[in-house]
Symmetry: D2
Subunit: 155 residues, 4 copies
């Protein structure tokens, strides 16, 4: 069992989401972030005549790596859970993994690292997409759903 | 003139956004990220009887720091600009700075670091909010607006 | 085979380090970073009377998460490899994983998340320690060992 | 007065370092990180014939951005201060800012963004260098200097 799953099982309070699904999303995001960092660097070591076609791909890799790392961190925190915040960051990650999968996908035939990276992005995208319905804030409140309200002052 | 502004002026291609406004947003985000990191740590050094009331605030600080750092990085990149991606990440940062400003704001009377942090969050929120209208993708396309398309293969 | 290993195999130039060992180190660092982020948050959800004993542990978790994420990124890049830089960052990660393993280890009996986190930190520490001898800069030069020198100007 | 300085002044416990000097180091690191992120992206938008000479510079920018961001975060935390950990991360940042200043410096005549970035790296390097003597662990102990020991269990 991965550390991610073990840590979710050891969390000492309630989690509003399915822990097994959550572990899968977090693991897909951290894998995607590492793959994007590696792909940006692999692009930089391609022959000179290939570089001009890879600049947008490198940029998309860098954005996707940063956004997936941050989204994995947000999804790893459950104290004072705020569905609105989690949902907004997950939507940014959905866009980043789509953009990067498309961008790397254009080079999949020519560059093996782009093929693998597009696959990691699509896998993270699908995992995020499956999680999204569970991130609905409570209807009709207009305010964040707080799963673990701040402990009150002790007398 | 800040390094942020100098670097935007030295960027060797077009930028679709107002460079002065963009510099102000990036600087507000990096200041907010540092302030949130410092506030989470300051909360941890408060007296024992205060800690239970600060746990949600610490969590919101950590999310806001990560999200603002990532958003500043995304806004610092202009190669292959994708309005959809930038917009989604800016919306996540709008939510994070609002959540954290509210959370720290609850403790502003009692903890000076929370008062300052709420102020930094609100300043970043306002800067992001003013930038949002400029991040509109081209109407009716459904696809990202690419400001700096990938250079084509050289013959 | 993990994405990490696949991406190292797809890297289009030389890598001065053993690719299998490198993949193991990177994977241990990303797992450790996620575990530390989760442990800091789990500490925040412990009962009020436990919090004062966990503040240093939370701080060490946050440092270790940041440092392991950055070290994994540095080790995922091979273009223009600089042994001095890699070695310095690996040494910081060795210290961070030791500090955090010790800090979480103090609470391993009482908090399952601290027990798991100490284990993830020790695993990352051992992987880094085994890599260290391979990060020796070329003797007697005083300057960085550059594995993939910048491509020269084309005529 | 910057938020960094304000937050240090609002920290509710002792800080072992000079707060004014510390604020200057943190601000130099966050400015350097942003500048390196922007320089990597500006390099990607240079004309095709320039790209092959900029690949190592881009890689050094990316490392330096990650390392400076992490070092700024470590220096922004004071709870349970560990001089050994802080010192190790500062030494990594000293190496990263030197490597990147040298790398960007090679292109300072040709690319304004590299000239500015080399300057931001050198400024961060000097600030870190001036801080280093203050990060000496207590002599002869072999164990971390803990400035703010964990609060003991309440009876």
């Amino acid at each position: 069992m991965s550390y991610t799953q073990q840590m979710l099982d050891a969390y000492p309070a309630d989690i509003n989401l399915d822990r097994k699904q959550l572990a899968a999303v977090i693991d897909a995001l951290t894998a995607c972030a590492q793959t994007c960092t590696a792909c940006a660097d692999a692009c930089l070591s391609e022959p000179a005549e290939q570089l001009p076609m890879l600049t947008r791909c490198i940029r998309d890799d860098l954005d996707c790596a940063d956004i997936c790392t941050t989204t994995a961190a947000v999804l790893s925190r459950h104290t004072g859970y705020d569905a609105n915040l989690t949902r907004a960051q997950v939507q940014a990650a959905l866009q980043a993994t789509k953009t990067c999968a498309d961008s790397c996908g254009e080079h999949a035939d020519r560059h093996e690292h782009c093929r693998i990276c597009a696959q990691a992005c699509r896998q993270a995208h699908q995992a995020l997409d499956a999680l999204l319905p569970a991130l609905q804030p409570a209807a009709g409140t207009g305010s964040p759903t707080r799963a673990a309200p701040q402990q009150s002052a002790r007398p």
